[in-house]
């Protein structure tokens, strides 16, 4: 009975820890914005739409980065895959008149194909993932420039794309992403193998797991996820203009913060996907709050990246904190023991 109670207590504690970060982020930003400019972080439907749209793109992108990064592969072509999927998928959807849902589907298909291509080249050429990523970035960026006279994709003013700004649709996509990725990485055969590879690639291979096909699947899933993120990024701005010179990598680095924070939060609930969801909520609450303060973009970015840096410092040194805490406890115990012995006259 006591065990059950202890376990229940532990579960509640883990849930509280998991939701603590976004709640604290919201509380801090709410207090700051109310004090400084006298408004809430979220005050009307436009804010709600902005928040959810940015959140779903952050979730998708952070999940995509973590898909490969957790197995030791840093795919730098994810940003370019996002551009390729969104621009090609968006233009096809525009031509076919398939609207926002069609654009999402086509973009994910094309993004998945870009990921598949990258993964296939990786397992066959065995080039370092980062180097391959850089090369693929340049290729995908150029492909994006080849279509639609360098205009990218412009959905503002086109009919049928309003669904991408619909809160219900955005929330449905968010939960679908979390559920599908949870199933894929936690419950499916692919997920078991993925985690075995994540633990030790050599042992997994020796155990008969095809590490190459698993890797290609990871790239494919990553490509689909970034394309999904790209669709919602485009929905907010109304257009997505192609970039060159590896500028697409901006999105990869921008989403590193929620990805790393998500992995950390995921440790509380033993679910990386939920962790990333919570981190996406936290980071977007922070971003939305900062934009309410009327700060310049450089100041906003500086604050976000300083927080990222501080988090990285903490994350890298949290073992030391535990060590110092344990050491202090040991010293204290030793001192108490000595004192007790002294009192007994030993």
């Amino acid at each position: 009975m006591a065990d059950i109670r202890k376990k229940r207590h532990e579960i509640i504690l883990r849930i509280l820890k998991t939701i603590a970060v976004p709640v604290v982020a919201w509380l801090i930003m709410e207090i700051i914005t109310r004090t400084v400019v006298g408004v809430s972080v979220i005050r009307n439907s436009a804010d709600v739409k902005t928040f959810f749209r940015n959140m779903v793109s952050t979730i998708a992108f952070a999940l995509a980065i973590s898909t490969n990064l957790n197995c030791g592969r840093m795919d730098l072509s994810l940003g370019a895959q996002m551009y390729a999927g969104t621009i090609l998928g968006g233009n096809i959807a525009l031509v076919l008149g398939w609207g926002g849902a069609g654009m999402l589907m086509l973009a994910m298909l094309i993004g998945g194909f870009c990921g598949l291509l990258t993964g296939f080249l990786f397992v066959n050429l065995r080039i370092l993932p980062m180097v391959l990523g850089l090369g693929m970035t340049l290729i995908f960026e150029c492909v994006c420039f080849m279509v639609n006279d360098q205009q990218g994709v412009i959905i503002y003013g086109s009919s049928g794309f309003g669904i991408l700004s619909n809160e219900a649709f955005i929330i449905t996509v968010s939960f679908a992403l979390i559920l599908v990725s949870t199933y894929l990485f936690q419950l499916s055969r692919f997920g078991y193998r993925y985690r075995a590879i994540q633990g030790n690639q050599k042992l997994a291979s020796d155990a008969g797991i095809n590490i190459f096909s698993n890797c290609v699947w990871c790239y494919l899933i990553g490509g689909m996820l970034v394309a999904c993120a790209g669709v919602f990024i485009t929905a907010y701005a109304g257009s997505l203009v192609p970039v060159l010179g590896m500028s697409s990598n901006t999105y990869v680095f921008k989403n590193m913060f929620p990805m790393i924070m998500g992995t950390w939060i995921g440790g509380f609930c033993y679910n990386r996907q939920i962790g990333i969801f919570m981190a996406a909520v936290s980071v977007n609450m922070l971003t939305l709050g900062l934009s309410k303060l009327g700060l310049s973009i450089s100041v906003q970015n500086m604050i976000i990246y300083i927080l990222f840096l501080l988090f990285m410092v903490y994350n890298s040194n949290k073992d030391k904190l535990s060590y110092w805490k344990a050491r202090a406890a040991r010293i204290s115990l030793a001192e108490r023991t000595l004192q007790a012995l002294a009192e007994k006259g030993c």
Binding site: F145, M146, Q150, Q151, A237, S239, K254, S291, S296
Partner: protein, 445 residues
């Protein structure tokens, strides 16, 4: 499975590679670093109104060795695509020239590398769209070393004054929009359409003014002046102080009119969220935009309009393209056109101005690029304002292959070989004469 993958991927690569090598009027061609268009033939593709190819009689002006001109682009956009079509397919055959287009050269290093490549490829002149005045003189000197002419997209500012007054024989000066005139388009529109009796609040997107962008400085200054004129107000700070602030700033004034200057690059992360947050305060009903950001803000503004049930009027700088067309054809929640006024330019006219400078110098008439006091001149053009979807449709249909605004008649009028004694001042007057009314008249004739 693996074989299927190999086949599929090989197919994809083949299609990709063949698409890269395709030489159509598509913009893809701009991507190649040193794409060269050979033009010894006098067949002009799409030179009729129907877009058919016709053979033309070369003018006497073209009886010379083929001139090779490098076009240095800083970004590849719809405008650069139009430029490629105009130079390669329209100008090159008639004037016996070759054009070599760069990829997007975003920094000084890539610009210098392109110039060196162009020199190796035998270019006689560079038309440079890299507009950093502090680098002008350096680039002029670099071209001088290689024996090439240098003409830039830009005007005279303190940072490049030395290049314009330095007597460089290879420097053909600059070409740019008449920035005060562009700014005045905004001022005139605001003064003409706003009633001083109505109370309005203004969110002014000052964009890159803090970086010294001349065009945006002129537009924002004129907007601020127009508001001051309409309401007879005085700002607590100078207009220059307000619009060159890199942080958002309230333009406090003696009439308590809400005016908020919002700077930043529209492509920067968080910029749109910041703009949306400012609009959501519900204070502003006029959004006046100096940078070319109409395509980026429409959706965010429309959401704020719906959330606050408030009509927001948008006036901003734009260029021909889908974004502007969509913006003019989209109605907001209140049934109004999304954008009330925008500016446009005719790319063929700007390109013709740049070409005339290079061609006049290459044919031995450097006096055609000099001012009366002997300094290198800046050729200017005037932008046009657009206020309706119909007007935009009409104007955007004017400057397309086969129907260029700057046709052979216009270009010929800018070349000294066709009219000995032609001065820079006369070329400028002829350029200014190409405006909305004159083009409309020519088209109707």
């Amino acid at each position: 499975m693996k074989k299927m993958f190999v086949t599929l991927l090989s197919l994809f690569l083949c299609i990709g590679l063949s698409a890269c090598g395709k030489t159509t009027q598509s913009a893809a061609t701009v991507d190649s670093l040193t794409e060269t268009t050979s033009t010894s033939t006098a067949v002009v593709p799409g030179s009729t109104a129907d877009g058919e190819n016709v053979s033309i009689q070369l003018p006497s002006a073209a009886n010379h060795k083929t001139f090779k001109i490098g076009i240095l682009e800083t970004q590849l956009s719809d405008e650069s695509t139009i430029r490629v079509n105009y130079f390669r397919d329209y100008i090159a055959p008639r004037y016996n020239c070759e054009f070599m287009f760069s990829e997007a050269c975003g920094d000084l290093n890539s610009v210098m590398t392109y110039i060196e490549n162009a020199a190796d490829a035998g270019c006689d002149a560079i038309l440079c769209y890299y507009t950093v005045p502090a680098n002008t003189e350096q680039l002029v000197q670099l071209c001088q070393e290689y024996g090439m002419l240098f003409i830039e997209n830009g005007g005279i500012v303190p940072a490049n004054e030395a290049a314009y007054k330095g007597g460089y024989e290879n420097f053909g000066g600059g070409f740019q929009a008449n920035q005060p005139a562009t700014g005045r388009l905004f001022k005139d529109y605001l003064v003409a359409t706003m009633d001083p009796a109505d109370e309005h609040s203004f969110l002014i997107v000052s964009g890159s003014c803090y970086l010294g962008n001349m065009q945006q400085l002129e537009i924002t200054t004129n907007i601020m002046e127009a508001i001051a004129e309409i309401y007879g107000l005085t700002y607590e700070k100078t207009i220059n102080e307000l619009i060159t602030s890199s942080s958002p700033i309230q333009a406090v004034n003696d009439k308590d009119i809400e005016i908020y200057c919002y700077p930043g690059l529209p492509t920067a992360s968080g910029w749109l969220e910041g703009l949306s947050a400012a609009l959501q305060t519900g204070k502003y009903d006029y959004l006046l935009i100096a940078p070319n950001a109409i395509g980026n803000i429409g959706n965010a503004v429309s959401e704020v309009e719906s959330a606050l049930d408030k009509d927001i009027t948008i006036i901003g700088f734009g260029t021909f393209g889908t974004a502007l067309t969509n913006a003019f054809n989209t109605k907001d929640k209140f049934g109004n056109q999304s954008v009330s006024m925008s500016t446009v330019k005719f790319t063929s006219l700007v390109s013709a101005m740049a070409f005339s400078k290079a061609y006049n110098m290459l044919t031995g008439h450097p006096e055609a690029v000099l001012t009366e006091d002997g300094n290198t001149n800046v050729l200017q053009f005037k932008m046009e304002s657009v206020t309706s979807a119909e007007q935009l449709a009409q104007m955007s249909d004017w400057d397309v292959p086969g129907k260029w605004v700057a046709d052979y008649d216009i270009v010929d009028q800018m070349l000294v070989v066709n009219e000995p004694g032609l001065t820079a001042k006369e070329i400028q007057e002829r350029t200014f004469a190409v405006n909305y009314e004159s083009i409309k008249k020519r088209r109707s004739d």
